[in-house]
């Protein structure tokens, strides 16, 4: 594949047009997959032997938790590209991922609590996964707050990218520490906390939801990244022509 094809999307107008074109290619499959996953997970999949119908929360909890962690990884990747190539496009993508990533982490926590109340009798347990998700939320919020606190855009980009990279290096360390710590405390409740082994007819809606969440996520990011790029380049010629052509 010709590398120039990829490099040209480092330039803001090309990336802007690409993301607007690609947006619906992500949103629509994502939306359809989510609908199918909801129908499959909420109605078609059989009730669990041990947990009855309450396990269905898993179809909302697992995709959001998984996507929240990958979103942080994408954000750190975009931050790295931004620092190394000083690319406005990469910084815009990183900045766009943060709010949705934080909402996904929030969703993972809330659905986890809604899972915990009927399953374990208590909304919050100090287990590894919930605590790591909370830490991830703080990492996202720190990134967003740092962006808002620094006036100058270039400085904000670089500082938040450093934060994202330090966070991504720390994320496995934090996760490992919390897992290690929680296995010491939760030895008596390991059986309670382990996920059920999952059969095929319960698995497929989960996979569909994971893909659906992912596609929808990228669709929204396309739109937000496009807004961010347009805002940064509002003085440029291509922005003027784009506005003229819209009228």
């Amino acid at each position: 594949m010709n590398l120039k094809q990829i490099y040209k999307y480092g330039s803001p107008p090309n990336y802007f047009k690409l993301s607007l074109k690609a947006e619906n290619w992500f949103l629509i499959p994502g939306f359809v997959l989510i609908i199918i996953g909801c129908l499959g997970g909420l109605f078609i999949a059989p009730p669990d032997y041990q947990m009855g119908d309450a396990y269905r929360i898993i179809y909302f909890h697992v995709p959001s938790a998984y996507l929240s962690m990958s979103a942080y990884a994408y954000m750190a990747g975009a931050a790295l590209v931004g620092i190394v190539w000083r690319s406005n496009v990469a910084f815009s993508v990183a900045k766009s991922i943060a709010p949705f990533g934080a909402s996904l982490t929030f969703l993972a926590l809330v659905t986890g609590m809604l899972w915990g109340k009927p399953m374990w009798g208590t909304a919050w347990v100090w287990d590894a996964r919930l605590t790591s998700q909370f830490v991830l939320l703080l990492l996202f919020l720190g990134y967003i707050l740092l962006h808002l606190s620094i006036r100058e855009q270039r400085k904000a980009d670089l500082a938040t990218s450093v934060l994202a990279l330090v966070g991504v290096i720390n994320l496995p360390i934090i996760h490992y520490s919390v897992v290690w710590w929680s296995t010491l405390h939760q030895a008596s409740t390991i059986s309670k906390l382990s996920s059920p082994s999952i059969t095929g007819d319960m698995l497929w809606p989960l996979l569909v939801m994971i893909f659906g969440y992912g596609f929808f996520f990228w669709g929204v990011i396309c739109r937000v990244a496009a807004s961010e790029i347009l805002k940064r380049e509002k003085r440029s010629k291509w922005a003027k022509e784009y506005i003229k052509r819209l009228k």
């Binding site: 830490v135 991830l136 703080l138 990492l139 919020l141 720190g142 707050l145 740092l146 606190s149 620094i150 006036r151 100058e152 400085k155 670089l158 500082a159 450093v162 934060l163 990279l165 330090v166 966070g167 290096i169 720390n170 360390i173 934090i174 490992y176 520490s177 919390v178 290690w180 710590w181 010491l184």
Partner: protein
């Protein structure tokens, strides 16, 4: 004497002049460690159980209180800018800056923690273990604090932001540090947590100054 030694000694001398700032951290450390038994009960077993977390928490809060003093004074008097503009490696200069900050702010904590440990009914070799844990944990904490301070140099009221950045990054140190103290008091094998603390110290002192130097460059120009 080369530039790095000069910077190290100069920073030590300056922090000795600003001894009241150092004292704030030490006092915070002592206060937090003392408040716990006063309000949570003081029987021996309970104190042995909480000394690990209390010592680490006190170190965290003490470092939080004095975080602004790492770079702000030098930014205000212009010497930080001179360091950035100099032809020497900024990462190297920042390494020695952080090292001297650690010597001046955390070594007193190591000494004080021995008194705290005996106040918590800890005896014998365990007091040395507590001091060693504080020694190792504060090295990493100092680097994380420097990074957070450097990232928020240009921000006007950085307090909440610094805390928000600090907490997730320092969590592993807090967990393993308190486990190290707890294991040594219980007589269990302490090698796991101590290897982790040492590893984090090496990681943070090698990568920390690089990231902090980069952050300072961003915030200054």
């Amino acid at each position: 004497m080369n530039i790095y030694q000069q910077l190290f000694l100069r920073d030590l001398r300056v922090s000795m002049k600003r001894w009241s700032d150092l004292l704030t951290g030490i006092i915070m450390f002592i206060l937090v460690a003392f408040i716990f038994p006063l309000i949570a009960g003081s029987d021996k077993d309970f104190m042995h159980r909480i000394i690990g977390p209390v010592i680490l928490l006190s170190s965290l809060l003490a470092s939080l209180i004095s975080m602004q003093n790492i770079f702000k004074p030098d930014l205000n008097n212009g010497s930080l800018e001179q360091l950035v503009l100099s032809t020497h490696s900024l990462s190297g200069l920042i390494f020695f800056k952080i090292l001297s900050y650690w010597v001046s702010s955390s070594l007193p904590l190591v000494v004080v923690s021995s008194l705290i440990a005996s106040a918590y009914f800890v005896t014998g070799i365990d007091i040395v273990m507590v001091m060693l844990t504080v020694l190792l944990a504060t090295t990493t904490l100092v680097n994380i604090n420097s990074l957070a301070a450097a990232l928020t140099l240009g921000v006007r009221y950085p307090g909440a932001l610094m805390t928000l950045i600090l907490f997730p990054l320092s969590l592993p140190i807090l967990i393993f540090g308190s486990k190290a103290i707890e294991y040594s008091i219980l007589g269990m094998d302490i090698s796991g947590p101590f290897y982790f603390l040492t590893g984090m110290m090496l990681l943070s002192f090698s990568l920390g100054p690089i990231a902090t130097a980069f952050a300072i460059r961003i915030s200054i120009d």
